[in-house]
Symmetry: C2
Subunit: 414 residues, 2 copies
């Protein structure tokens, strides 16, 4: 069973927003056994939307359309879908009440255009949007399902998980799809591929392997699809068991549905341990990655971003002499930062970063891309020096990923 995603909105095509909805949809659909055949982003333009709907209907069984459901003139998805289904718009009483409820809650005056949010194609089943005024709409044609959803991410996400997926499950029987992703660090994509070539060549036809290199890591993703869930899971596990001894030296862990920082958090909570972070060159990125996850206050005590060199001295207690002797981007300073932030927050673990993310040299003579990362525990401190290249975004991203890997390694020792 295949689905296709159509995202509508000029803002996507002119690059004003990044389309994150499609990744969410891809992930959620895969979980229940629906592959995404194609993602198509089109303009707020009637003939283009009609063409995309027609092509999607040819390729897929389920067509998910997001965006273009706002109350203003540039939003034309609803009228276009109505035309595609040769239908008329009718007022839905429940949607109207939902719109009125939302406007009275926010004490905003209810305008005619807002009431128009309650107009839906007569043939559609309404998916009530409890987080906004634009309802989801479910339509069917020749056994194919079309779902139109608002483009606002949290409204779309709630509609998908609470209504679209349960409805699809009730209506169709899906094959089982599973993905297993293995994180490696330290070997390039091609060297890794050469090393495991014999294993890869012997994978059964229903298991596909992909290499995903990103910011210093290579992720190996196994994707399997078949009717029998138990058999697929056993075979994937058997293949992983064959693979692991060959990549022991570079294996970091598995990436479940959760990110490495979520996994670290989970593990720290289970251990009853806590974390603090002192970030210079990563500028808050590490803290933000941890706190983005719900429940992070159970292990994350906090962080400091001592961006200016003076604040490393004054607020983090790094001796001026140490900075003068070694420079602010050095092993000695990184280790002192990790130890001091750990004491300040009275945490079990601490991470620190100091480096030069570029593009210009900062308060140190270190080459652009040089980063020192340290991990401190009650008993010891370790650190490593890296060069993450000359692109600021990359340096910050790779330093963050590396800090996660280093911390995970220390945690797994326990």
């Amino acid at each position: 069973m295949q689905a296709e995603i159509i995202t509508i909105g000029d803002e996507i095509l002119i690059g004003q927003i990044v389309d994150t909805n499609s990744a969410f949809l891809g992930k959620e659909f895969n979980k229940i056994g629906i592959s995404i055949y194609q993602i198509t982003s089109v303009q707020d333009e009637k003939s283009h939307i009609l063409k995309a709907l027609k092509e999607a209907e040819e390729n897929a069984d389920i067509i998910i359309v997001t965006g273009g459901l706002g109350p203003t003139k540039d939003d034309i998805t609803k009228h276009t879908i109505c035309e595609y289904f040769d239908d008329v718009l009718v007022e839905d009483q429940d949607v109207l009440e939902n719109v009125e409820r939302i406007f009275s809650k926010y004490k905003s005056p209810l305008l005619t255009v807002n009431k128009h949010q309650a107009l839906v194609p007569s043939k559609c089943k309404v998916l009530m949007n409890h987080n906004g005024t634009a309802p989801g709409m479910w339509l069917e044609k020749n056994g194919k399902v079309f779902v139109s959803l608002p483009g606002v991410p949290f409204e779309m996400k709630a509609l998908i998980t609470e209504q679209v997926i349960p409805n699809l499950r009730a209506q169709f029987k899906f094959p089982y799809i599973m993905h297993k992703t293995i994180l490696t660090y330290g070997l390039g994509e091609s060297a890794l591929a050469e090393r495991i070539e014999a294993w890869e060549d012997n994978l059964p036809h229903y298991i596909k392997l992909a290499y995903l290199p990103s910011l210093g890591r290579v992720r190996l993703r196994l994707s399997a699809k078949a009717e029998d869930k138990v058999l697929v899971e056993e075979e994937v596990q058997r293949q992983v068991n064959l693979l692991l001894p060959q990549i022991e030296d570079v294996f970091v862990g598995y990436e479940e549905d959760r990110s490495i920082e979520a996994l670290i958090g989970q593990r720290l909570i289970a251990m009853g341990k806590t974390l603090a972070v002192a970030e210079s060159c990563t500028g808050g990125f590490i803290s933000q990655s941890f706190t983005a996850n719900a429940g992070s206050s159970a292990f994350f005590k906090g962080g400091l971003v001592p961006y200016a060199t003076a604040s490393k001295v004054k607020l983090l207690g790094i001796p001026e002499a140490l900075i003068e002797e070694h420079s602010v981007v050095s092993k000695a300073v990184a280790e002192a930062m990790a130890q001091n932030i750990r004491s300040m927050f009275e945490s079990d673990y601490a991470i620190s970063t100091t480096g030069n993310a570029g593009p210009a040299k900062g308060d140190s003579d270190a080459e652009v891309g040089t980063v020192h990362i340290a991990i401190a525990t009650k008993d010891y401190v370790i650190s490593e020096e890296f060069n993450f290249g000359k692109h600021r975004e990359n340096v910050i991203g790779r330093a963050t990923n590396k800090a996660f890997s280093m911390l995970q390694k220390e945690i797994l020792k326990k």
Copy 2:
């Protein structure tokens, strides 16, 4: 002149990565007057890629293909393009030298698969990739341009700005496209639309208006496209001058190509002023947003993420009695946090956030979604209380945006 983007890779369709390349391409192409007709994401599968190429060739003059150029077996873009152009692969000496140079720099052994990176279609013009081993490839067919680029963002970006765009400019004449985006805060999309309806209806046909609501803000984007650059710019400015008096109370500023945090940074640097941040519920997001921009060390002194309540007392000097009296999520605590962080970092301005991002209640009884944001200067401190709803991601995002708006307002007073 229209372009189409094809992004290749199963990882996009299963939602393992978010496609950020397309937004970059959309933005860069728009700057030089090329509209993106469609973005299509397809699987690593030959027949599907061939179909996408054929459809794109029908719609667009320029086809940009990203992804699928790695050295491993799952990367099939190069072979597929070769087939589409009825061509053969030949070894390019310059690319081979580039590959050898990169491998010798990182002291990695050069494998046969890596040497295969130097195989390119015989009809293509090579776009040398100075940041990686997979070259860009420029091909032409019936007056249409096809460019295949690696999917690694920083490799792709460098090839686009340094080679693809200069080549396109040399070969074609483009119309002038401009976008002007006006930021508003405080009025809903539909209320705004009703207020400016007469103005919108009188826009000339070559100026298009879009409403972009996001996390509490509504952005109004004017897009204009015509041959004559001067006339277009004058007309857009004239329309903006007609609009502004109607939205005076909600107008925040313009969004140039740069984000609001980049504009704030630019302005602080021009004023010779500095900033520090104390973030509780935003958990590092504000700091990270500032430090993501190059040159931020010229105004950003640093930040503290006092996530645990105890660290607000110990590290930020918030009196325990104040927290007990008002609770940790309160106006009094937010204002003290902003004042104290400003003193600690000796900055001119400071931002603080304290709130409950959910999903569960934290160290305070405040309702999920409650956030207090304060701005401190040498002379005064102000704060506001908000409720940003019950979705964690939203609460953090809206609190961050609101903090930027509040700070910008204070800075503009000077």
